[in-house]
Subunit: 333 residues, 2 copies
DNA sequence: CAAATTTTCGCACACGTGTGCACCCTTCAT
DNA sequence: ATGAAGGGTGCACACGTGTGCGAAAATTTG
C-alpha cells in the first residue's frame, strides 16, 4: 500500500490535519512538530498523491498538448521545447495527436479539458475561428502555436511568415536571380499565404514580374515537393531559383532536380523554410529560413505557466526567422 | 461551474447515489429512472470528473511514456503508435523526455509513478539491470521497447537486432561484396552489440574475414556516421560496402562518401537500419533493414492495456525487421 | 388481508488532501 | 488565584465519484 498522511499521523500520534499542515510548512504548527513529522514522512517514504491534491485544489499540474503528427519533424522540436519547460516546473505533458483532422482536434481539446488539464497548447491548428466559442466555453487558457486567433482565453506564439518569405526571396534576388519560383502547400493554410505574400513583396520591390506558371503547390511533404518541381522543370523559360514553403518540400524539390540531372547550384538554387536537421542530411545541404522551433515551444509553455500562476503575460508573441546559408543556393549559372 | 452528479441529483429529485448508479447502468435502478437521469445529465452537459474517479477507483486512465529524445525520428514513430492505441481506448499519454540521461530517466519514471499513471512504457532505456528493483518497488507494470529485461512487473517489445544485422550483411554478400565494413554506435549499447553479432555471423558463414580496421564506431547520429566513414575511406584496401548501425549513421556515411567523390553505388554500397522516412530524402535513397516502428509502439501499448485490464498477455515479444531495397546498394564496381 | 419477498433507493462512508473554526493548553498579566 | 491572550492542534467538512448495507416501497405469496 501507498503511504498517506494518515499513516504518518498515526505514526506521529497527531491528526492528519497537523501532518498536512506540517508538510506544507504552515506557521500554525510548532517548528519541532514540523521537523518531527517531516522526518517520519521521509522515513516512511511518503509521496503526496497528486490525484487527491487535484481534486481538492482544482489543479492537476498537467498541460495538454495537441499536435497534428509527430512524424513531422517541425513539431517534434516544438514539443521538446514544451516538455523541457514543463518538466523543469514540475508539470506533466499530456500529448494527443490530431492527424490533421479538424474534427478530431476539436474532440481532443474537449477530452483534454475533461481530463482537467490546467492549460492547453495547440501546435499548427487546422481549426479556424469557429473554434473560439468552444475554447471560451471550456474556460481553460489555450496557447496557439503558429495560428493566430483572438479571444479571452486564447494566446499565441508564432513566427512571422511574411517576413520569412520576404527574407528567403530577397536572399535569392541578392544572389542575382531574376527568375524565382515558389512551391507552396495545399495544406499550409494561413502560413502558406503569408510566406507567399513575403515572396510577392520581395519580387515587387525588386521590380520582378510574378509569373503564375512559377507558382505551384505541393503538400508540405517530400512527395508533394518532388511532384511540384517536376512541373516547374517543364516551364519555359525555367526558373533559376525556387523558394519552397518548407524544408520537406525543398528536399523533394531537390530530389527531383538532381534526378533531372541538374546541378544544385548553379543550374538551380533551392531555399527552404523551417531549419530542420533533415536539411543537413541531403547533398547539397539545404539553405533555409530557420524558425526558432524549440523557442516556440518554450515560449508557449512559459506563457501558459505564467498565466496559470497568475503572473502577467503578453497575449501574442511574434518571432522572426533567420537565414541559414548552407549549400543549395548560389548565383545563377 | 462544472456540472457534477450532485447537480443532476438535485434536478432529478434523487440522491447522488442513484445518479451515480444510473449513469453506470446499474441493475439496481429502475429502467425509467435510469432513462430520466440520463436525459437530465445529457441536458445539463454533464462530464464525469476523471480526477474524482481516479481517486476513488485507483485508475487514472493514463499511460506514462518515457523517451530519450523526440528529435530522433525513430522514437517519434513509436510514440505515434502508442498514442493511437491509447487514444482509441480512451487513455491519455503522459510524455516525458530523458535526454539520454540515465539518472533523469530514473527520476522521470518515479515521477510518473507518483503521478499515478496506470502503466509506463519506456522507449530505448539507458538503464540496465539496476533499474529493476525500483520498478518492482513501484508496483506498476512497465513495457520496455528495445531493451530486454526480466522481472515481475517488466514486459518488453523489441526487434531482433541479431537477425537484422545478419539480414543486412547477407544482402551485401549476396550482391557480391567480400569487403564489408561495419559502422557501429558508441551509444548503441546492447542493440549495437547484437547488430554487430549478426554482421559477424553472416561474415563467418560466408567464410569472409573480420577485419578490425573495418569496424569503426559512430554515435548513432549523422555527424558520427560522417566521421566514421572518413576513417574508413583511409583504410587500404577499402571496403566496397558498409553496414551501418542505423539510418542516421548511414546518412552521415553517405554524405562523406559523396563528398569524397565516390559513386554510391557502384564505388560503395551503404545499408542502414531502422527504415526511417529520412532515408528516402537523400540521393541515392537509402537501402535499409526496417524496424516495424509504429508496430513496436502499438504492441507496447496494447500489451500494457491488456495487462491493466487483467487479460493475459505474453511478457516478451520479439519482432523481425525487413529489408527495404532502395538505391544505395549494388554489386561492387 | 397480512406476511414474505423482491425491487428501488438513500444513508453513510471511502478514496487522500486541504482548511475554517472551535477547543484546549500554556503563558503571562492582573 | 483568576482571567485574558495567544499559540498549537483536532473536528468536521469539502472536493466528485463509487459502494455496502439497511430501509422503504412495491410486488408477490399464502
Amino acid at each position: 500500500m501507498r503511504v498517506t498522511i494518515k499513516d504518518i499521523a498515526r505514526a506521529a500520534g497527531v491528526s492528519h490535519t497537523t501532518v498536512s499542515r506540517a508538510l506544507r510548512d504552515s506557521e500554525e504548527i510548532r517548528p519541532e512538530t514540523r521537523a518531527r513529522i517531516r522526518a517520519i514522512a521521509e522515513a516512511l517514504g511518503y509521496r503526496p498523491n497528486p490525484v487527491a491534491r487535484a481534486l481538492q485544489g482544482r489543479r492537476t499540474q498537467t498541460l495538454g498538448v495537441v499536435v497534428t503528427r509527430l512524424s513531422d519533424p517541425f513539431h517534434t522540436e516544438v514539443v521538446q521545447g514544451i516538455e523541457m519547460v514543463a518538466q523543469a516546473r514540475g508539470y506533466g505533458v499530456l500529448l494527443s495527436l490530431s492527424h490533421e483532422d479538424p474534427e478530431k482536434e476539436r474532440s481532443i481539446v474537449e477530452l483534454l479539458a475533461a481530463k482537467q488539464v490546467d492549460g492547453i497548447i495547440v501546435a499548427a491548428s487546422r481549426l479556424g475561428s469557429r473554434y473560439l466559442p468552444m475554447l471560451e466555453a471550456l474556460q481553460i487558457p489555450i496557447v496557439l502555436i503558429n495560428s493566430h486567433q483572438t479571444g479571452p482565453y486564447v494566446y499565441s506564439v508564432a513566427t512571422d511568415n511574411v517576413h520569412g518569405g520576404y527574407l528567403a526571396t530577397r536572399y535569392l534576388i541578392g544572389l542575382g536571380h531574376r527568375a524565382i519560383a515558389y512551391i507552396g502547400s495545399r495544406r499550409g493554410g494561413r502560413s502558406n499565404q503569408d510566406r507567399y505574400r513575403g515572396y510577392r513583396q520581395a519580387l515587387r520591390e525588386a521590380g520582378l514580374p510574378l509569373r503564375p506558371e512559377w507558382v505551384v503547390k505541393g503538400d508540405g511533404r517530400v512527395e508533394g515537393g518532388e511532384a511540384a518541381m517536376r512541373r516547374l522543370l517543364e516551364t519555359d523559360p525555367r526558373p533559376t531559383a525556387v523558394f519552397c514553403y518548407n524544408d520537406l518540400t525543398a528536399i523533394g524539390a531537390l530530389k527531383a532536380a538532381l534526378r533531372a540531372g541538374l546541378r544544385v547550384p548553379p543550374d538551380l538554387s533551392i531555399i527552404g523554410f523551417d531549419g530542420l536537421e533533415e536539411g543537413t542530411y541531403v547533398t547539397p545541404m539545404l539553405t533555409t529560413v530557420a524558425q526558432p522551433r524549440r523557442q516556440l515551444g518554450r515560449l508557449a509553455a512559459e506563457m501558459l505557466l505564467e498565466i496559470l500562476e497568475g503572473r502577467p503575460s503578453p497575449k501574442h508573441i511574434l518571432l522572426q526567422g533567420t537565414l541559414i546559408e548552407r549549400e543549395s543556393c548560389g548565383p545563377p549559372g
